[in-house]
Symmetry: C2
Subunit: 121 residues, 2 copies
């Protein structure tokens, strides 16, 4: 039984470069909760190398700082998010949820048939 469904994706760009999308949102959330980039990587099952590159790219395109990093010292180091990015993340979450809801609504509106291939003419 073929099941057809709609998907949607929302992200913010800065100067045409991807800035904040769903993946980075989850990553930042994990960093904030754990207080560490490497702990966040472990938690999400990603390599530290990859996570670090993501955050680095993000920081380079961002108009404001994202992370307060501490290298060395107690516990070897730590990182936490800046107030600016936390505020932006709140707005992003709102927009994302609302757009996803609209996509589902439109799908039901324009494709009330075609939930499966059973009802294909």
């Amino acid at each position: 039984m073929k099941q057809m469904r709609i998907r949607s994706k929302v992200w913010l760009e800065v100067d045409g470069q991807p800035f904040l999308g769903d993946g980075r949102y989850r990553l930042l959330t994990a960093v904030e909760r754990t207080g560490s980039i490497s702990a966040a990587a472990r938690e999400l099952g990603m390599s530290y190398r990859k996570v670090w590159a993501l955050l680095q790219t993000m920081e380079e395109t961002s108009p404001f700082p994202i992370l307060k990093r501490r290298i060395g010292g107690k516990g070897g180091g730590a990182s936490q998010l800046t107030g600016e990015i936390l505020e932006l993340m709140r707005g992003f979450q709102q927009v994302r949820d609302q757009v996803n809801a609209e996509a589902d609504r439109c799908f039901d509106l324009y494709f009330p048939w075609r939930k499966t291939d059973a009802d294909i003419p």
Copy 2:
């Protein structure tokens, strides 16, 4: 001057596999207008190999036929879209436009500031 803006993307999936998104929509439109896969590829600046693979994958995941192909014969061959996919494309276009509009609306709603980095606190 850093310019921040929102982007959104909508696509249909069949059994969890990507089926129809913006790129394939444009491709199918070109195939229909030109009546030929290879002409569509040239028009979009893509290799025939890539376009063929896209359509092949699409046809494999689709619950219904997409293309009416003719190999050899007048003009060497030709292809045109089935009525089913044309109908689906119309619905997709509606949903896509409406969701994109909603994304823009939400962005203005939740980020009335932050059009540029000039007005960052």
